[in-house]
Symmetry: C2
Subunit: 216 residues, 2 copies
């Protein structure tokens, strides 16, 4: 499958971490974007809280170091998060990208990496937070849902919004079809948001994100 680090010859690529719990399709989208040179970054480490996460397989196939942090080995959420912090510090990552990472991070973790943690959520926050966003939107009868990339703060699915994109839900559309279309938007949006962060273009005014102009 080859390595991901196509950009080495163009200078140092900023190291990022991707945290996953499951399939890792957004991880794969980031790997693909780096390979396709749509994203100038290097995934320094993929961390999972589940040993069986297929995301770990995807990372290994792309020659990316992986770390499994087993929450059961720690007495508390804070203790587990201290281990996560230690791993991330050892890789000196510039940005932490949650990609289907199902653990709620402790305030200690969030404060340690303030405004350097991104999350992607399959709904237009503040609508449909939580672990079943697409199903919740369908059950509500929403005609529009979408995707949000946001900075992580101390509250779940709450922080400042970098990018959102709408996905129209047609009447009678199957859940499977909506899920597919939402994921397609996720895979396009997340590399774009990561690049905005790494380029230093994100400026916060309160909780509102202003985007600085791209450098020439």
């Amino acid at each position: 499958m080859g390595t991901q680090n196509n950009f080495k010859k163009h200078g140092v690529c900023p190291p990022i971490a991707v945290l996953c719990s499951g399939q890792g399709t957004n991880l794969q989208a980031v790997i693909n974007a780096i390979r396709a040179r749509r994203l100038r970054a290097r995934i320094a480490v993929v961390i999972s809280d589940r040993a069986a996460a297929f995301a770990l397989v995807r990372a290994k196939r792309a020659d990316i170091p992986t770390v499994f942090v087993d929450p059961k080995h720690y007495a508390s959420r804070a203790a587990c998060d201290r281990r996560l912090i230690a791993v991330l510090q050892s890789y000196q990552v510039r940005l932490i990208c949650l990609a289907g990472f199902m653990r709620v991070l402790s305030p200690v973790f969030v404060r340690r990496f303030r405004n350097r943690i991104l999350n992607i959520h399959p709904a237009l926050l503040p609508a449909f937070p939580g672990a079943h966003a697409i199903q919740d939107a369908l059950a509500w009868g929403a005609r529009v849902s979408g995707v949000t990339v946001h900075l992580v703060d101390e509250h779940v699915d709450h922080g400042p919004i970098l990018l959102q994109e709408a996905v129209a839900i047609r009447p009678e559309e199957t859940e499977k079809r909506v899920v597919t279309r939402v994921h397609q938007v996720e895979h396009r949006l997340y590399p774009k948001a990561i690049q905005l962060m790494l380029d230093g273009r994100v400026k916060l005014v309160g909780r509102v994100v202003r985007l600085k102009a791209a450098r020439a």
Copy 2:
């Protein structure tokens, strides 16, 4: 300005009521859609809870009967709503369209016209309910908001959704510009939703709206 009833020669147009408290730009959009034959309906009455609502002027200009119901004349919300019910019954309206009507309707009113009351809201519900939806979306830093047309139930900004359409909010965009674009979508969406209701195409499955196919 001429009358609104361009469709009389094509048979009986279903009578509807429009309830307003303010400018009445959505009322005007409905009047215009009827005149342009994009909406086959007749506005039987425009009701306002504010004597100074410009919506009443728009109605008079279009030769539509107007009724001002002054909440201050009634001892309770229920008493005021009984007067609204009496007016609406006297005009035998098929559908009640809230268009910037700032009164919260009582459960008695909602039950009397169950699934026959529409509201239009300048956000993608359940996000940003309430009276300042566009301002709330901007203050939250949302990158997508939009418009919702929904059936009114006993809870504010809550009922089954007929139509939604997204409006992208660009970074640095002025509030005025966003308001203009949201209103443009409202003016297009509301006549469309009213027509769906009058054509009997709206079917509820729980709170999810299914749209029956249009008759040939």
